[in-house]
């Protein structure tokens, strides 16, 4: 269990984290979502006692982090896989961590086996690929068999195999009853990994919802339909009160897009009126679109799209 209450962090006049309140429950993977620069890493560092909040509190299992006697036994974290001395072996890196919290040295070999690094345990960590470094970071997080786990952008830069492996790993950790908080700026990744979402933008809480609710709420569904009797179908749909417009699609075939409808409705209507259908498909708005809609005003740095002036928010961000 992680409880964050009114957490605020200001750097000069910039509010990196602004009055954030949420809690992370055990047993599920909770996604911590927000665009780059939203304050995810800063929040995680404050939970881990690395940064001091300007105001507010962050509790882990009911106490502030610095009050934990042997923190690695309670909280495991992977904030940056490159936080390893490049000339130290993977095994020695885990050994000093284990020693620092009086963990048995046998745990080092156990976690190395768990993440599949036993073969390279004696090799210098500086020579590891990003995927191997992530595994080493994960081994460090798991060293004390902690109840609470924090991961900051764990799939960044990983190949598909690595992504699937980490995703399954986090889900199995949550299934064991642990509290798992995973940050990401990729909603599509989170929709596959997490059950619950905490969405922030510019340091403020935007949403604290289940992944399913978030996707349903944020994306509008529509139906694409193709038929040789398109005009007749259009008339029927419009009469039913649906908003209909042309959608030639990528294949440039005449088709209609029916907003806010389900395939069941359109299919039944066509069948009842004897209209032949060539295609009937539901179309969900992309998750990224949904995410942009929610965080649109909260993205700190808008890219300038060719031919358009920089977004107006830019001025706000730089003011």
């Amino acid at each position: 269990m992680i409880e964050v209450r009114g957490l605020t962090k200001t750097y000069g006049s910039t509010k990196a984290v602004d009055d954030l309140t949420f809690s992370v429950k055990p047993g599920i993977v909770t996604g911590f979502l927000g665009p780059n620069g939203a304050g995810k890493s800063t929040t995680m560092r404050m939970i881990l006692g690395l940064d001091t909040p300007t105001s507010g509190t962050a509790l882990v299992e009911g106490v502030p982090y610095h009050q934990l006697k042997q923190p690695l036994r309670t909280v495991g974290a992977l904030l940056d896989a490159k936080w390893v001395h490049p000339n130290r072996s993977a095994k020695a890196h885990l050994q000093w961590m284990a020693a620092a919290n009086s963990l048995p040295m046998s745990r080092v070999d156990e976690v190395l086996r768990l993440v599949g690094l036993s073969e390279v345990a004696g090799k210098k960590a500086g020579g590891f690929s990003l995927g191997m470094s992530q595994r080493l970071g994960l081994a460090g997080a798991l060293l004390g068999d902690p109840k609470v786990l924090l991961f900051d952008e764990p799939v960044n830069g990983l190949d598909p195999e690595g992504i699937v492996w980490i995703r399954k790993f986090m889900q199995s950790l949550a299934a064991e009853g642990r509290t798992v908080l995973v940050s990401s700026h990729l909603l599509s990744e989170m929709s596959l990994t997490a059950e619950h979402l905490i969405v922030i933008g510019r340091g403020r809480l935007i949403a604290d919802v289940s992944v399913k609710d978030f996707v349903d709420r944020a994306s509008d569904s529509s139906v694409r339909v193709r038929s040789p009797q398109l005009d007749a179908l259009r008339g029927l749909l419009t009469a039913q009160g649906f908003a209909v417009h042309e959608d030639p699609g990528a294949d440039h075939q005449p088709a209609l897009l029916v907003a806010g409808a389900r395939t069941d409705d359109v299919g039944a209507l066509a069948g009842a009126n004897g209209i032949v259908l060539h295609e009937l498909a539901s179309k969900q708005g992309s998750l990224e679109d949904a995410f942009m809609k929610l965080t649109g005003d909260d993205v700190q740095y808008h890219a300038q799209i060719a031919g358009q002036p920089a977004a107006q928010n830019m001025g706000g961000a730089l003011r």
Binding site: R45, G49, L50, H66, D80, R88, A99, A100
Partner: protein, 250 residues
Amino acid sequence: MSVLNAERIKLTSTKSPLWCSLIAVVVSVGFAAIMGVAYKSLVSSGDNSMGEFTVAYTQAGAAQFGAMLVMIMSALAVTTEYRFGVIRTTFQAIPRRTQVIGGKAALLAAIAAVLGLVIALASFFVAQATSGETLSMGSGDNARELFGIPIYYALLAVLAVGVGTLIRQSAGAISLLLLWPLVIESLATIIPKVGKYVGEFGPFNNVNYFLGNGGGFDFHWGPWGGLLYFAAFVAIVFGASLFVVNKRDA
């Protein structure tokens, strides 16, 4: 205890502390040998300008060169952690930062003291062998100048851990640690009027006075006072580093 154990594993699992120690021994003792040879040839040619052969002569390499390497090794133990982000993992494992920095300083001071004792004794005997002179270990001044080296090294380790923690950057911390005694406290002493005070109140000049290299300044206390003065300077710098590391975001 767990803090010291973790720091011990860190120090022994990379090669640079070992190399620093080895170079410190070889060059310091080598310098003692050269000092002995030079003294002998000078005396045999009838030149008496070096005066009587002293313990301070035998310890010149230890007090100058070996001391620098002890500071470099100790500063690096902190700054490389900042350089590679390891310090954050350290603070995650041990959130009470005073324990972390205190543990590092204690361990490095112990290692530096042992290293200092080895270098001091080896230099003492090697210089006697190459010079053909004999020195007594028993007299008060001789014993202080000889066994002062391990005390000096231990204090240097604490100082360097403090400066490394304050500066967090290898190049900056090492530059300051080396330039302070070499430039601020030696070059500045040649400035008229002001230089006299830099000489008398410079922490490194005071500890060198304790080690038998007074440099001709009029100190306001005895050699042991010089050591205490230096120790107070180290305590202030180290205390400041503890204060700052607890305040600062990691």
